[in-house]
């Protein structure tokens, strides 16, 4: 009976072709193979976000009057609501962390070189989207920390030259952070960003399948042909071990370090001390904090924003600026840049949590 249903599905959905594709997919085996798992890890964690996010949607209310209370309701009244919520909050952070590992490892392995430039660009777009997901989602519980972190974040956006003030009003739904901001962020977080992300993700995954896995130049230069491992079952099984480990980690975090409720947002209370954005914005925040208030007659913050913007541009255009073969002095320079970026971001993220004056 089951066999006949399976046969029917095979025929109508063309499962045979998909199975062929999967069975043909090969993964290069070398000393950097470890880094290949991180794209899948990011995807797995994104899947967790979608599932837990949909579940939260069933009880969450996106108005200033009810948001905090609905989150408290989920945490205290809904069966396992505490678990779903804590997993969603933790997995968001783990996903962005995995995305950063994926991005940096792809950069260092020069996976962005020809013909994979579009894969790199779509990947950077996805990274930007995940930061937007994080920023918009953070406000939704409508607690003091979230409120003021959003205020600081949108203030900085407002400082961008030319488009800043427009961006600030666009993000906030007005001049100040109000219920209108919450509604808007909710719209971004559950509709607009998912729609865009799904499309870009589709493009990104398609491109990865089309071009296959990139092999780092040093490995290619070894001379001998690179051994391959079949995707199914070898790579996939290993992928699943990683995913299960992540799932276990999430369960541990949700139970031992549950995400707190905080205090309900009150715009008329002075901002609590030590307001900072989530860690993935930390290095930008720390950079701006450390700049002097004026440099060569211009506002320090403005210089910082422009600087970060330019750095981002350079990073984005790496496939076109680096040596197209990924070899030679220019390639070595870019590898150095990559290391510098990793070190800078790591150090500056840690500095945010060091405490004391910046």
């Amino acid at each position: 009976m089951i066999a006949r249903v399976q046969e029917w599905l095979r025929d109508r959905l063309g499962l045979d072709e998909l199975q062929q594709l999967a069975e043909h997919k090969q993964i290069p085996l070398h000393r950097h193979t470890f880094w290949y798992y991180w794209g899948g890890m990011t995807l797995f964690l994104f899947g967790i976000q979608v599932c837990t996010g949909i579940l939260l949607l069933l009880y969450y209310r996106a108005s200033a009057d009810e948001a905090y209370e609905s989150v408290r309701f989920i945490m205290t009244q809904v069966s396992f609501g505490w678990l779903i919520r804590s997993i969603h909050s933790w997995s968001a952070n783990l996903m962005i962390g995995a995305a950063m590992v994926h991005m940096f490892s792809a950069f260092m392995m020069k996976a962005y070189r020809r013909p994979r430039e579009a894969t790199w660009l779509s990947g950077m777009l996805l990274f930007g989207l995940s930061m937007a997901f994080g920023f918009s989602g953070y406000l939704l519980p409508w607690n003091q920390l979230a409120f003021f972190a959003t205020k600081v974040g949108t203030d900085i956006t407002g400082a961008v030259p030319v488009v800043g003030p427009f961006m600030l009003r666009f993000l906030r739904g007005g001049d100040h952070i109000t219920g209108a901001t919450l509604t808007r962020f909710f719209g971004f977080h559950v509709a607009i960003l998912p729609a865009i992300a799904t499309m870009i993700l589709g493009v990104h995954l398609y491109l990865v399948q089309r071009h296959g896995m990139s092999v780092p130049p040093q490995v290619e230069d070894q001379g001998t042909p690179v051994p391959q491992m079949k995707f199914v079952p070898h790579f996939l099984l290993r992928d699943m071990v990683g995913w299960l480990a992540a799932l276990g980690g999430l369960a541990l975090l949700a139970a031992l370090l549950p995400w707190e409720l905080g205090l309900k947002a009150d715009p008329y209370v002075p901002a609590p001390a030590g307001i900072k954005p989530e860690w993935y914005f930390g290095w930008m925040f720390q950079t701006l904090r450390m700049l002097p208030s004026h440099i060569a007659g211009l506002e320090g913050e403005l210089i910082g924003i422009i600087g970060i913007g330019l750095a981002g541009m350079v990073w984005l255009l790496a496939p076109f600026l680096d040596d197209p073969t990924g070899r030679g002095p220019r390639a070595r320079f870019w590898s150095g840049l990559g290391v510098a970026a990793i070190v800078y971001i790591t150090v500056f993220t840690l500095l945010v949590y060091r405490g004391g004056k910046p």
């Binding site: 505490w82 071990v241 369960a251 139970a255 549950p258």
Partner: protein, 424 residues
């Protein structure tokens, strides 16, 4: 200058002066007061002598001026006469009344209900009979010059209504006004106590009224009366306090302690709480330790002491139960567990605690015990709910532990599978 010439010059000056006054432009101040021609004001205002011009300084703000009453109303004389002949006794001029005459003078209008009603449909009608019961009136009748009469408290020639915050008899200003005489300097040589204001300022009533502007707090006149000021005598005190502290007063007046106090000549309320320096009562008063009020009278081993002990134990027990439940719930909340139902029960319990502090004034252990029992029941409910919340929290960790085991097991099996597969 010779005497006749002096008189002539004075006369000419006076003529010219009155002519000037007659032709002078209307004053912009207080239309009502000026409409009734007031030669007294005109003349006295222009005098160089402070003694003569002083009454005019604030006259136009005086409530009497505002209501259209002139100087003549109290002092007699002729306000239309701009000559010194205005102050003719034949025209009713009385001049400055003696201290013992002032009350009668004010009462002439203020005790006349029909007259007062012309200005206010619900007037305060002064009672001369009431004033005669006061120490102030009695002492004035004896010839004592240093005792208050109407003008000492209400002012004179610039009297404001008691509702006006600048008035010396405005609620908040009363203690200061009374203390103008009731202090050690002024009262030197008398046997009357003089520390009342200092004590009052330090009391819960004084701080409420003077520092926090809480108009519900009593000033001197709220307990001592206004125009019939006497120190409230023994029998009256608890009735005075019960005017505001209704529940406590009601319970006390029905209690055995009140009967005992009557027998012993002790004063209710004041004996335990003090009068002018009454402080916010503390829970230490409801104990058998330092600060405990009951043991101040009840000897160890007496029935009273046993009763007090029972009450104190019940109260302390309830406080302790609430404390235990509260810290349990705080722990549960800190761990992110739901405690609303439990908190509702706990607040009922805290209500009973407040009720005990009032119920104690019955000085009956059964009354207090009933309230304590209710409180304990609610505290137990809260505690049970708190324990259940913490148990849930522990169960979560167990659940997590189990799921981790399953995950680890699966990972282990997968790795074994990976190893078992032929080399890739």
């Amino acid at each position: 200058m010779s005497a006749p010439r002096l008189i002539a010059v004075t006369g000419v000056l006076l003529l010219a002066f009155s002519g000037l006054v007659y032709a002078a432009p209307a004053d912009s101040l207080s239309g009502i007061a000026r409409a009734a021609q007031n030669s007294c004001l005109d003349c006295h205002r222009r005098s160089d002598q402070a003694r003569v011009s002083a009454p005019t300084a604030h006259w136009l703000e005086d409530i009497h001026a505002v209501r259209g009453l002139g100087c003549v109303g109290c002092h007699g004389g002729d306000a239309t006469d701009s000559d010194l002949s205005a102050m003719d006794p034949d025209k009713g001029f009385r001049g400055k009344p003696g201290r013992d005459e002032i009350a009668e003078l004010c009462a002439k209008c203020h005790a006349d209900a029909a007259y007062m009603k012309r200005f206010n449909p619900r007037p305060y009608v002064f009672s001369m009979a009431e004033f005669r019961t006061s120490v102030h009136c009695k002492k004035i009748a004896e010839g004592d010059k240093k005792v208050a009469t109407c003008t000492n408290c209400h002012g004179v020639h610039g009297i404001l209504t008691p509702k006006d915050p600048s008035s010396p008899v405005f609620h908040r200003n009363v203690p200061l006004t009374c203390s103008k005489c009731h202090n050690s300097e002024y009262m030197k040589g008398r046997t009357v106590p003089t520390n009342q204001f200092a004590l009052y300022r330090n009391s819960v009533h004084g701080k409420a009224l003077l520092e926090r502007d809480d108009a519900s707090a009593p000033a001197c006149n709220d307990c001592h009366g206004n125009h019939g000021a006497v120190p409230p005598n023994t029998r009256d005190i608890s009735i005075v306090c019960a005017n505001c502290h209704g529940r406590e007063g009601e319970l006390f007046l029905a209690s055995k302690v009140r009967l005992a106090f009557d027998r012993m000549g002790k004063r209710g309320c004041v004996t335990c709480h003090g009068n002018h320096d009454v402080q916010k009562p503390t829970d230490a008063m409801l104990s058998t330790g330092p600060g405990g009020t009951c043991v101040g009278c009840h000897e160890p081993g007496s029935a009273g002491e046993r009763g007090a002990h029972a009450i104190v134990t019940g109260f302390a027990g309830l406080k302790a139960s609430i404390g235990v439940a509260d810290s349990l719930l705080k722990l549960a909340e800190f761990r992110g567990m739901e405690t609303t139902q439990a908190r509702t029960a706990l607040r009922e319990s805290q209500d009973r605690l407040v009720a005990v502090r009032a119920a104690i004034h019955s000085f009956d252990e059964h009354t207090v015990a009933a309230v304590v029992a209710e409180g304990n029941e609610f505290a137990t409910q809260a505690r049970t709910a708190g324990i259940s919340a913490l148990r849930d929290w522990r169960n979560r960790r167990i659940g997590m532990g189990l799921s981790l085991l399953v995950i680890l097991a699966t990972i282990g099996l997968l790795i074994a599978r990976i190893r078992g597969i032929a080399p890739r």
